[in-house]
């Protein structure tokens, strides 16, 4: 079993520092739990969360709740091997599924289903089948020898996830499938943007791809991030214009301004997007672009 990186870091930090305190000294939100129900209740409370529209839930200390629950259940199993194994395994499976570890989730569900004596065995069968289907789709390759091959692979994988989105659209797992679909569409768009110079009408295609992503995922928590990526494309096009027309007499101010201002407009949307996690990034992108625009204009005036 892989150890979570932050856990490893924490252990190393404790081991390295002479001032480290004993775990038992912690209090408040970070105190050790005394009751397994506490872990299970906080996990299952959020199993129906729409992880597509909203950011993953956090515990009071700001840690990802699914990750924390998984680590705590694993720790419980180490400390009390065999004690309420069916419950902890099912909880682990649920957390793993939300964290996108579908194969490990399917294995855990299967383990619960195999515990004949447990009343949970029968209830684990259906999520086990779902996790298997998710794992199969997730296992499909995303890469290829060429851009064309990569795009084809992504298309096949998107088709597979599209079917699962349709199949689970009215269940809590539907939002998990939509997260995967969005991730793949984002990867496809990034591929198109990165290789737009190799494609016919690459700039237009890249812009269309990003606009499609924005329109299709208008309800997603990642919408501001998608808008920022469109701003990045416009900013990159403005920079390309300057590098292709670097000599003073080739540089046309109006041409440059139309490109730079398009990027600024796009960044500005996120820079003024109240409540969005990406707002500070949008403000920084806007400020950086504006500074570059002004410096470029000053250079050519």
């Amino acid at each position: 079993m892989r150890m979570p990186s932050f856990l490893l870091a924490a252990i190393l930090a404790v081991g390295a520092s002479p001032l480290a305190v004993r775990a038992g000294d912690a209090s408040g939100a970070t105190a050790p739990y005394e009751d397994l129900i506490e872990v299970l209740a906080t996990l299952t409370w959020h199993l129906r969360d729409d992880v597509y529209r909203f950011a993953p839930p956090k515990d009071p200390t700001g840690h990802d709740l699914y990750k924390l629950a998984l680590s705590r259940l694993e720790s419980w199993e180490k400390r009390f091997p065999g004690r309420m194994r069916d419950v902890t395994t099912l909880g682990r499976a649920q957390a793993l599924e939300r964290l996108g570890e579908y194969q490990r989730a399917a294995d855990a569900y299967k383990e619960v289903a195999s515990l004949i004596d447990s009343p949970l065995a029968a209830r684990a069968a259906e999520p086990a089948a779902r996790a298997r289907a998710f794992a199969e789709a997730a296992a499909l390759p995303e890469d290829g020898d060429s851009v064309e091959a990569q795009l084809n692979a992504l298309r096949r994988k998107l088709d597979a996830w599209g079917k699962l989105v349709e199949q689970y659209k009215d269940t809590p797992a539907g939002s998990v499938a939509m997260v995967e679909e969005e991730r793949l569409e984002r990867a496809t768009t990034r591929l198109v943007v990165d290789h737009r110079r190799d494609l016919e009408h690459g700039d237009e295609t890249a812009e269309k791809a990003l606009r499609f992503l924005i329109q299709k995922h208008a309800d997603s928590k990642n919408l501001p991030a998608h808008v920022l990526r469109l701003g990045d494309l416009y900013a990159e096009q403005a920079r390309e214009y300057v590098s292709h027309n670097e000599r003073p007499l080739a540089f046309q101010e109006d041409e440059f301004l139309s490109r730079a201002d398009r990027a600024l407009d796009t960044y500005h949307k996120v820079a003024t997007w109240d409540g969005a996690q990406e707002k500070p990034e949008g403000q920084a992108c806007f400020a950086a672009m504006e500074a570059w625009k002004n410096a470029t204009l000053a250079r050519y005036r």
Partner: protein, 718 residues
């Protein structure tokens, strides 16, 4: 440089005026009876031709690598012309500028430029030479920056010491009863001076720029007599900058530590340790960081494990019910969870595991869509002094249950801060110091004076707060938007929209305020009209600063009909119709008569002679657009102006445009660099007297003028 002068004819606008020749030619042609016309014309043409040949030869010599020789040629030519009773060519100072500009050594270049300025060159050459001497020369510019910086430090120290003594607040009137109150101003003055002395030697943006400019000069041309002094300055400023960088970095790290932002603190303090001579300063914060990181790691590790003394069921019956509860919980079925939890609570009311069962009750209620009951259960559980009680409190404070509370708390905080601002003013360290100084000075009498002293301040701040919210609304906005995103159809949605409308209005974001106000579903048309009016006003202000002002104003006039802003936009559009092309006003044409000639705009000089009977250009002058020259002429009657349009062919347009751009550039170059608001003799008077009515009362105080930092690159050093 010579492109600016266009043809030789144009260059001679003053000494050998092209207009003079043109008028002379015109007179000769128009008045043949005067006789000897062919002789005069021939003489003028010959003179012009000889002059052009000599100037051409000098230019060739200059471009061939002998600009000093070219200067000598032109000086000789001027002498020769002087002996013949002719005016000088007027090109010698241009050639001197060229010769100075190509000098490879800084010191020689500076001497040449100073000689040129001593020779009273024409305004354009003088401006160029002065720019090269004072601004292009990095060391000279850096010296001036440092001189101004020293002056401003001293001036600010004195001004800030004097200013508190000139504040006439309510305290002054109470001084009749208790003269000791006047000591408050003196203590304020001393305290301010102490603070300013403490910060006196802080690295300033001017010093940063001076350092860069000195370094640039040394890299570009170290062969200057000033090199030793410059190197000394570079070393001194470099050390000061390094110390400032170290201090700033450590401060950032320490502030991050205070805010419990350990990741930022680690970055800043690690960076500080790598800076030269900064490791010692960063050592203590580094130790504190290591301790805090260790504590955080230990706490995170602790949170992952069950307690050593994890609670176990007391007996087999309790264990059985506990397992049933755990299974129901992991399945997340609200009905089964509620049943198992209630059974556990009824069967084992005194169990230590009971808080867990109550948590499950709260969860089951929430999953069943009964959030208010779930909240009540959590609030009840939060009072429990168990580990699960802490968890319940955390949930109440979290994103699910705490959003509305956090939203309301943000509003309360905002209100408190506004009240605090109105009553006490700003709460920065400086204000605190002033207050402490004044209270210290007036001792127990402070209480009686505070009311009178602050009446004016409170009124001023209340007015300001009413006009512009002095406190940020961002927290309210962020909380409200997040709440609406999560529960767009919740019971409290209408209330949140209404409060967000208020917050956005206070923050000056009227478009969002309008949107949220309309979303309440109970919008009052008067409030909508008021918000639309404010939105239009804001758009109008933005439009005034925009290069697309006419378009934006047209949109405001169209989309916000009935508002004051729409009326103002319409009026502006009427009064200032969009002008395309190059506008050359009458005054400019009078100042640059060469523009009227056939190689430029080809205009009749009588249009500027002040005689309306032969046609007169109005103040708007002429506008040069694409292959068209528009003349705005005075007219009798109404309207008082008429427009005459002349088509231009490609060659005429190119000539006219080149001449117009040249004249505008010259105007820009020779414009008075002083601010338009600066009085004629202002620069000779080093002091000022400033009066104001502010938060601290009426203030009248003299001061030493400071020198503005007007470097075009100043934002690079701030």
């Amino acid at each position: 440089m010579f492109r600016r002068h266009g043809s030789l004819e144009e260059r001679h606008a003053r000494p050998l005026s092209l207009m003079g020749i043109a008028v002379l030619v015109w007179l000769l042609l128009a008045l043949p009876l005067l006789g000897r016309a062919d002789d005069l014309l021939g003489e003028a043409a010959r003179t012009e031709s000889e002059l052009e040949a000599q100037v051409h030869a000098a230019l060739v010599r200059a471009l061939d690598g002998d600009p000093r020789g070219a200067v000598r040629d032109l000086e000789a030519l001027d002498r020769e012309r002087g002996m013949k009773g002719q005016r000088p060519t007027g090109l010698t100072d241009d050639m001197r500028l060229l010769a100075a500009g190509v000098e490879p050594r800084r010191d020689v270049r500076r001497v040449a430029l100073e000689d040129l300025l001593d020779a009273s060159p024409d305004p354009v050459v003088e401006r160029m030479a002065r720019h090269a001497l004072e601004e292009d020369d990095d060391a000279a510019a850096a010296d001036k920056l440092l001189t101004d910086d020293r002056h401003n430090r001293r001036a600010n120290l004195i001004n800030e010491a004097i200013r508190p003594l000139g504040v006439f607040s309510g305290t002054v009137f109470l001084a009749a009863l208790n003269p000791f109150l006047l000591a408050g101003s003196a203590v304020d003055s001393v305290a301010t001076t102490a603070v300013n002395m403490w910060n006196y030697n802080r690295l300033s943006p001017r010093e940063r720029e001076a350092l860069v400019r000195y370094r640039t000069l040394i890299e570009r041309d170290a062969r200057t007599n000033d090199a030793p002094e410059i190197v000394q300055q570079v070393q001194a400023l470099g050390a000061k900058r390094a110390a400032a960088l170290c201090k700033d970095t450590v401060d950032l790290g320490t502030q991050a530590l205070d805010a419990d932002d350990l990741d930022t603190a680690r970055f800043q303090l690690t960076r500080a340790q790598r800076l030269p001579d900064c490791a010692d300063r960063a050592a203590k914060p580094q130790e504190r960081l290591a301790e805090m990181l260790a504590k955080r790691a230990a706490a995170e590790e602790a949170a992952l494990w069950p307690a050593d003394d994890a609670i176990a069921p007391a007996d087999s019956l309790e264990a059985s019910d506990y397992e049933a509860l755990a299974r129901a919980t992991v399945l997340g079925d609200p009905g089964a969870m509620m049943a198992a939890a209630q059974r556990f609570q009824q069967s084992h009311p005194d169990s230590e595991l009971s808080p867990g069962a109550r948590l499950v009750v709260a969860e089951a209620r929430d999953l069943a869509g009964r959030r208010p009951e779930a909240r009540a259960a959590l609030e009840d559980l939060a009072d429990d002094d168990s580990r699960v009680g802490h968890v319940a409190q955390g949930m109440l404070d979290g994103a699910e249950f705490g959003q509305l509370d956090a939203f309301r708390a943000a509003e309360r905080r905002h209100t408190r801060q506004v009240v605090k601002y109105v009553l006490l003013g700003g709460v920065d360290g400086r204000s605190a110091l002033y207050t402490a100084a004044q209270v210290g000075a007036s001792g127990v009498q402070a209480a009686q004076s505070v009311g009178v002293v602050n009446v004016l301040g409170i009124a001023t701040r209340a007015w300001k707060a009413w006009r512009h919210d002095p406190v940020s609304n961002q927290e309210i906005i962020d909380r409200g938007e997040e709440l609406l995103a999560r529960t767009p159809e919740g019971a409290e949605t209408r209330e949140v929209h209404a409060r967000l409308a208020d917050a956005y209005e206070r923050a000056g974001s009227y478009e969002r305020a309008l949107m949220h106000y309309k979303a309440t579903g109970q919008s009052d048309p008067k409030r909508v009209a008021k918000l639309e009016g404010k939105l239009a006003d804001k758009l109008l202000e933005d439009a005034k600063r925009s290069p697309a002002a006419p378009l934006l104003m047209a949109a405001i006039a169209r989309d916000f009909k009935g508002t004051d802003a729409a009326e103002k936009a319409e009026k502006t559009l009427r009064e200032h119709p969009r002008v395309e092309g190059i506008v050359l006003e009458r005054d400019l044409l009078r100042d640059h008569p060469a523009l009227l000639g056939p190689t430029a705009l080809d205009l009749d000089p009588r249009l500027l002679d002040g005689d309306p009977s032969n046609g007169e250009l109005s103040d708007k002058g002429v506008t040069l657009t694409d292959r068209e020259l528009r003349l705005t002429l005075d007219a009798e009657g109404s309207p008082p102006e008429r427009v005459e349009t002349r088509p231009l062919d490609d060659a005429q347009y190119a000539r006219a445009r080149a001449a117009a751009e040249e004249a505008l550039y010259t105007k820009l170059l020779t414009a008075d660099p002083r601010s338009a608001e600066e009085g004629r003799f202002e620069r000779f008077i080093p002091v000022y007297i400033a009066g104001s009515i502010g938060e601290n009362g009426i203030s009248v105080a003299p001061g030493i003028k400071t020198r503005p930092y007007s470097s075009p690159d100043k934002q690079l050093y701030e």
